[in-house]
């Protein structure tokens, strides 16, 4: 077996099923994701396709199934086709984004209220949560923000991929994902303690503390470098935070 056996294009032997891409019927193999099925049907992506790995938010898709009143959602790159899906991608949805000088913020909820006053237009209908392809509890983080709990909103919104489907369904016309982004940044920068060890290390580098060691390594011939590498002390996999090496010459 050659390495090319694990190749990109595998022969498709699966059963064909009908799907309706923007209302038009195509027969596609039942094992494909919506994204691959759309390509199989003959479309060439420009919009609606990004990372192809479920994190970029480019390929959000809404669909309905026969006899089912519900609107279903999924990422085209992650969702497998089903027979008689009626689907369309929503690669872009306009949403107003506030602009702010991040360095001037302090972490008070009022700052978010001022940048996004529409926050209070939320009627708690939960359409945002229902439409989220990442199962983020959108309405809950908006509710947390209304109560001034930025950190809770940051945690609840952490898996957001900013596809914009929440904004597309919102009765109150909120740009939820932009608001969540601001909440997460404020939480990260102003409501979570900064890492003290990080400040110390940056200061030590600025004073040139490690230059001598690095100069030594840079000047080493390959064999000496290899030897130094192989003899370097390894932190054990199960070591705790306070583990320290025996040799502290280059710390």
């Amino acid at each position: 077996m050659s390495s090319t056996e694990v190749a990109v294009k595998t022969e498709i032997k699966a059963r064909l099923i009908p799907v309706y891409i923007m209302g038009k019927k195509y027969e596609v193999p039942e094992t494909l994701t919506i994204m691959k099925a759309i390509e199989y049907a003959g479309y060439k992506y420009i919009r609606g396709c990004g990372c192809r790995g479920g994190v970029c938010g480019a390929c959000s898709t809404v669909y309905r199934k026969p006899g089912d009143y519900k609107i279903h959602v999924g990422l085209a790159c992650q969702t497998v086709v089903e027979p008689d899906m009626y689907l369309t991608q929503i690669p872009f949805y306009p949403a107003l984004r506030g602009t702010y000088d991040f360095t001037e913020l302090t972490g008070k909820p009022e700052e978010i209220f001022e940048i996004y006053p529409e926050l209070f237009r939320c009627v708690a209908c939960n359409a945002c949560t229902k439409v989220c392809p990442m199962d983020v509890q959108v309405m809950d983080y908006i509710a947390a923000l209304k109560q001034g709990d930025i950190q809770k909103a940051a945690e609840l919104s952490f898996d957001c991929i900013q596809c914009g489907l929440c904004a597309s369904r919102c009765m109150g016309e909120l740009p939820q994902y932009h608001i969540a982004q601001l909440a997460r940044r404020i939480s990260g920068a102003y409501l979570t303690p900064r890492a003290e060890h990080l400040k110390t290390m940056v200061a030590n580098i600025e004073t040139g503390r490690f230059n001598e060691g690095l100069d030594k390594l840079k000047a080493m011939d390959e064999n000496t470098l290899k030897k130094t590498y192989q003899e370097r002390e390894m932190e054990p996999a199960t070591a705790g935070e306070d583990w320290a090496p025996k040799d502290n010459q280059y710390l």
Binding site: M1, S2, S3, E5, V6, V8, T10, T31, T33, K36, E39, G42, K44, I46, G50, C51, G53, G54, V55, C56, A58, Q78, V80, T99, Y100, F102, D159, Q162, R185, S187, G188, A189, T192, P193, A195, E196, H197, L198, M201, V202, N204, G213, L214, L217, K218, E222, L225, K226, Y229, Q230, R232, E235, P236, A237, T238, E241, W243, P245, Y250, L251
Partner: protein
């Protein structure tokens, strides 16, 4: 789809050895790391060492260099558009610094260029943020814990991972700037995983001697990307973004300086001229070239465009003879094929296990060694697990993590992958994942120096498009670091260059004319054009019926 019955039977074999393996892990009894000699021996299973997979370049500044056919194909190709058709006297956009590429490196460059007084345009092929940065899961390396780590040890690890071939100055700059990058991101509000007192959580990655991998759950790259992108959007007075408009050629001026680029609007099909006093190339990697037919973890637009443009403009390439295959890409279910499973699973204790339920390699070897071991296990030893579509893979035994750390850990620490598999009916806290190496990273790229400059005055670069930092093999967590360190440096250097060195002058595409002629003279283009911009996944059956369609390369 869930595991079919045949695979469920094979999973029972994994389960039968699991508790014993967990006990060994608890006692720190690991499969020994390979010696440098053993590493050398196993690398013959690595795709880089398949000689028929590459050829000597016939044209350009690195003529004679042997690289993969797929990469040579885009370098030995003519321009997308006849340079004579472009009217350089009609400027569509003008700016101080043009950043080509809207990923992590490009956005970091834009922010720093702006902070240093430049007006910036980011031109990007897809949306701002559509980049491999967004997909990087595992983490970002930096020696931030002074009681056990320093740039000295980070440097050693980087060199060892890169087979000691890395450019020393590039590595030095990388490791020395690493903690400052984390501090910068922390200040921008990037949510790295922390202990309650603010201490950053760090774990091991393949090839690290100290636990220095910082992370934001399992979406580290996405968290970094959305943070810097949000900041760029706050500065929209100075930083504008042109989406769906990849650059297809660099523009030089009469002084031999890089002075802009030709953009292609993918939607209206117009070619546009953008004039700039300096250019930062940040186009990322090449996974979508599918080197040696491998599946890839890369995003849709990773087609080596920057290498093509820079090479045509006279910048040499280096370390492109090596390509990184991430050891653990999904091989089943097929619809998720190629998707990356972060090294953090192994860092957190999951074993790699063959069809007999046995470990065969230490899970924290550098990536090329790890990938080669997996390929050997499947190809030579026949101990891979057959998938329903006739491929082979190896188990990544994720349920061990819950047994080692506590129930719920997999779901909490790997929410992205947990949800992904759950949709297919697979619970990775209870069932292992089936993986195989997948094309992940372009180790090499355009030559540059530690100030982000290239041999072409006015052209700077940051991130995956550059070569030398990682030598012949990059370690996990050094790519997110690379894009931030060199993105920032390139942005700052470009802004300083704008003030001190950039000259106004007549614009020219003469270098493209010359390159096209060189291709003709060597007779190597075979009708190919580049940059590719987007891969083509149209099936042959469809193409046969597209009787009036016209393809320019892979684009219709």
């Amino acid at each position: 789809m869930p595991y079919p019955e045949e695979l469920k039977q094979l999973i029972k074999v994994v389960e039968s050895t699991r508790s014993e393996r967990v006990e060994r892990k608890k006692k720190n009894e690991e499969v020994p790391f390979m010696s440098l000699e053993e590493r050398h021996d196993i690398l013959k299973y690595h795709p880089d060492f398949i000689e028929e997979g590459r050829r000597e370049l016939q044209v350009g500044p690195s003529k004679g260099y042997r690289i993969a056919h797929e990469m040579a194909n885009v370098l030995e190709a003519k321009s997308r558009v006849d340079p004579a058709k472009i009217d350089l006297s009609k400027i569509d956009y003008e700016t101080d610094v043009l950043v080509i590429g809207g990923g992590g490196a490009g956005t970091a460059a834009a922010l720093l260029a702006q902070e240093n007084g430049a007006k910036v345009i980011i031109a990007t092929k897809l949306r701002h943020g559509d980049a491999n940065t967004m997909m990087a899961e595992g983490g970002i390396q930096a020696a931030t814990k002074g009681h056990k780590d320093s740039p000295y040890f980070h440097y050693l690890d980087v060199m060892g991972g890169g087979h000691f071939k890395n450019t020393p100055e590039l590595v030095e700059t990388l490791v020395n700037n690493a903690p400052d990058v984390i501090k910068w991101l922390e200040g921008l509000g990037c949510n790295f995983s922390k202990f309650p007192d603010g201490t950053l959580k760090t774990i091991h990655g393949g090839g690290t001697s100290r636990k220095r991998m910082h992370f934001a759950a399992d979406i580290t790259g996405a968290e970094m990307m959305r943070t810097v992108r949000d900041e760029a959007r706050n500065r929209s007075n100075d930083i504008s973004v042109i989406e769906f408009s990849p650059a297809v050629e660099l523009i030089l001026n009469e002084h031999g300086q890089c002075a802009g680029a030709v953009l292609y609007n993918l939607e209206t099909e117009e070619y546009l001229v953008i004039k700039a006093k300096a250019v930062v190339m940040a186009t990322g990697g090449c996974g979508r070239l599918h080197v040696q037919g491998f599946m890839t973890t890369n995003h849709y637009g990773a087609t080596a465009d920057g290498i093509v443009m820079g090479y045509r403009a006279g910048v040499k390439i280096c370390f492109l003879h090596t390509v990184q295959y991430h050891p653990t890409g999904i091989v089943f279910p097929e619809q998720a094929e190629g998707i990356l499973i972060t090294e953090k699973f192994r860092g957190s204790g999951a074993n790699l296990v063959n069809i007999e339920g046995q470990q065969f390699v230490n899970e924290r070897e550098p990536r090329d060694v790890e990938a080669s071991s997996i390929i050997r296990e499947c190809v030579e030893r026949g101990k891979g697990i057959p998938t329903p579509t006739g491929k082979r893979g190896i188990w990544l035994d994720s349920p061990m993590i819950d047994m080692l750390v506590g129930p719920g850990t997999v779901q909490r620490e790997f929410p992205g992958k947990y949800i992904l598999y759950k949709r297919f009916g697979i619970d990775i806290a209870k069932e292992p994942m089936l993986i195989y190496p997948t094309l992940h990273y372009q180790n090499g790229g355009l030559e540059f120096t530690s100030d982000g400059a290239t041999a072409l005055p006015g052209l700077f670069l940051g991130g995956e498009v550059g070569g030398g930092t990682h030598g012949e093999n990059r370690l996990m967590g050094n790519s997110l670091l690379d894009i931030m360190v060199y993105g920032r440096i390139a942005g700052k250097s470009a802004a300083e260059y704008v003030k001190a060195k950039a000259q106004d002058g007549k614009l020219s595409l003469e270098h493209v004319v010359k390159y096209n002629k060189e291709i003709d003279d060597a007779g190597v283009s075979d009708g190919r054009i580049a940059p590719m911009l987007l891969p083509d996944y149209t099936t042959p059956e469809i193409k046969k019926k597209q009787l009036t369609a016209h393809y320019e390369g892979t684009i219709r």
